[in-house]
Symmetry: C2
Subunit: 337 residues, 2 copies
DNA sequence: GGTTAGCACTCGGCGCCGACGAGTGCTAAC
DNA sequence: GTTAGCACTCGTCGGCGCCGAGTGCTAACC
């Protein structure tokens, strides 16, 4: 792939992304000063098509990029610029009020991304915190319940209530003290796992309270793992000409209503760095016309959640990749700071 | 409006709802045995049009109901039947696992409604519980925070953490005891309001802890009141021929992404009983082609939340009204039981 | 007087056709 | 290797005529 071919491929992708129309040799010669005539461009286009980077929707139309073409573009040609300072400022301004509150912060970031890209935004909000355990406490709730309160370093609180048999207050205090000892400083996630497995509470004379708690934690984990992904900006996609066909849009939206599908999509995001999935590269049916640009974000050096932008295959990859990179950086920064 | 006209209006609405095509006199004579000839039906149709119950999209087409026609249908003609026993059973089965858990229960009800009606479902999940306060507790979290824990009769727990200045543990206990005295048995909602107003904590020597708590509660109330409405089944609407036009669908979906709009929509629902808003009866622009059937649901005799079905004006009113009525009844039953 | 058959008329939808134009590949000349 | 010229392809778009569903009117009927 020589330099001229690269320039031409880049021009084809840029133009097709901008217009959603197949691109012809004359257009290329006129709009992008490549310094060669349409005829020469035609020869190059024919080569690029033969090599699989371009496709022709029908015999007398211009070229459009193939998945392979987009892939090459993303890997070697897309300009992942720094954001305009105006945009940086705006991002900071949007995120600032939520500094420290994971959920709201990530939601705000999603809204920003939706507006800035005009595509659809996916995001996973961390269900179980990686934050470390600061305090475990048993709170008796008269007449017959006990509330287990877990407080994390970052201020998050998880509570779990269960029916209690006859349990003495001292037993509860002993248990709490032991649990504090055992759990202090561990990630909440691990604490909850341990409680769900019921291992931690065996020996404190709590009767069947231990079992009940384990059961409650199991249920809670299930529920939280189900409901941790959400979507915004779906109407944006309806602006894109590829979704003029209502049936396509419907298939897509229906799929996006299923948590399971969303999770699978976001699972494509790497824990760190920006990744791009293009068109048929993934086999999930309703997404064959889409691309996903996604990234994870870190807190305290550990991966916490993921965020992605889903748009038509004909996506402004460069811009979206910059935005995603910047947004995930900012999220990390706001949560660490 | 004599009986024959009523029967004809009913037939027009039923047929138009089923087919989405303007209905002509011959069709009416053939499909609904009205016992009169197409010519007579034509005369009646002309009358109904003159009275404003029907409209003609163009000169040589059949009739479609006007808003006034739908209104008459809903008020006097729609058959609000009991649900099929099969459907009742299914509803019970779907809701049963969530007995007692407000949020999940209502979500399950929404999914059921979406499937059963193939329209869009709106629902408000109660933000602040009407449940009564059972326990107030201050939990010191070393080194420098205090967690206020509110436990309700129904098992819900709300926690609020704030930075604490130097506060003695006895002061906290005295304050908690007094608050328990004062709040026990009051609806959580009122408790939170009192705390937000900062009245309750003035005199316990808690220093600026009282102010900090009040501020925290204010923030929380704001946030909760914003995020209490949600939507499901949007893709269903794309099946409806009236949303073949992507622009219409986009306008609608965009409006539905705004919490404020959702709240306004659901505010149309009465606290008890089923209500119907049709087409241009409401002036909010993107909904002119839609109708909303909605209802509140009660817990312990008090209104708790609302649920509604948004579909095209050409909606199966009878069926949807039955479903909404039944679902809201069941929700009430499951939460009270 | 209400009901109905007959009839002329209206009008949107659909398929056909031809013109147009964007774009291609090939060839031959530079 | 590059380019001008040219014949060819094929999808789009507007015009046109047919078809059929549906109406309103009139006159006959019960």
């Amino acid at each position: 792939m020589d330099t001229r071919k690269r320039r031409i491929l880049q021009a084809v992708v840029d133009d097709y992304v901008a217009t959603a129309e197949p691109v012809g040799s004359v257009t290329l010669a006129r709009k992008y000063n490549l310094g060669i005539s349409p005829a020469t461009i035609r020869n190059e286009l024919a080569d690029l098509e033969e090599q699989g980077y371009l496709e022709q929707p029908h015999a007398s139309a211009g070229r459009i990029p193939s998945d392979k073409g987009y892939r090459f573009y993303v890997d070697y040609l897309a300009q992942v610029e720094e954001l305009a300072s105006e945009e940086r400022r705006r991002l900071r301004e949007v995120l600032d009020p939520y500094r420290g509150e994971v959920g709201a912060l990530v939601q705000a970031a999603a809204r920003f991304l939706g507006e800035a890209t005009q595509y659809l935004v996916l995001l996973s909000v961390p269900a179980v915190s990686r934050a470390r355990c600061r305090l475990v406490h048993f709170l008796p709730v008269p007449p017959d319940r006990v509330l287990l309160v877990l407080v994390a370093e970052d201020g998050q609180v998880h509570t779990t209530g269960v029916e209690a048999g006859p349990v003495s207050e001292e037993a509860l205090q002993r248990a709490a003290a032991a649990l504090n000892e055992q759990f202090h400083g561990l990630p909440l996630e691990e604490v909850e796992r341990a409680l769900a497995e019921g291992l931690a509470l065996g020996a404190f004379g709590l009767g069947d309270l231990a079992e009940r708690l384990a059961e409650a934690f199991n249920q809670r984990r299930d529920r939280e793992q189900r409901s941790q992904v959400c979507v915004g900006g779906a109407p944006n996609l309806l602006r894109q000409p590829e979704f003029r066909d209502v049936e396509k849009a419907r298939g897509l939206f229906a799929a996006l209503e299923e948590e399971r599908v969303l999770s699978e999509l976001l699972a494509l995001a790497p824990e760190e760095g920006v990744s791009v999935a293009i068109g048929e590269e993934w086999p999930t049916r309703p997404f064959e016309d889409c691309s996903l640009v996604s990234s994870g974000y870190l807190v305290g050096g550990r991966p916490l959640g993921r965020i992605g932008v889903l748009g038509p295959r004909r996506m402004e990859y460069g811009r979206v990749m910059s935005l995603i990179r910047e947004v995930s950086r900012h999220i990390t920064e706001m949560l660490d700071g």
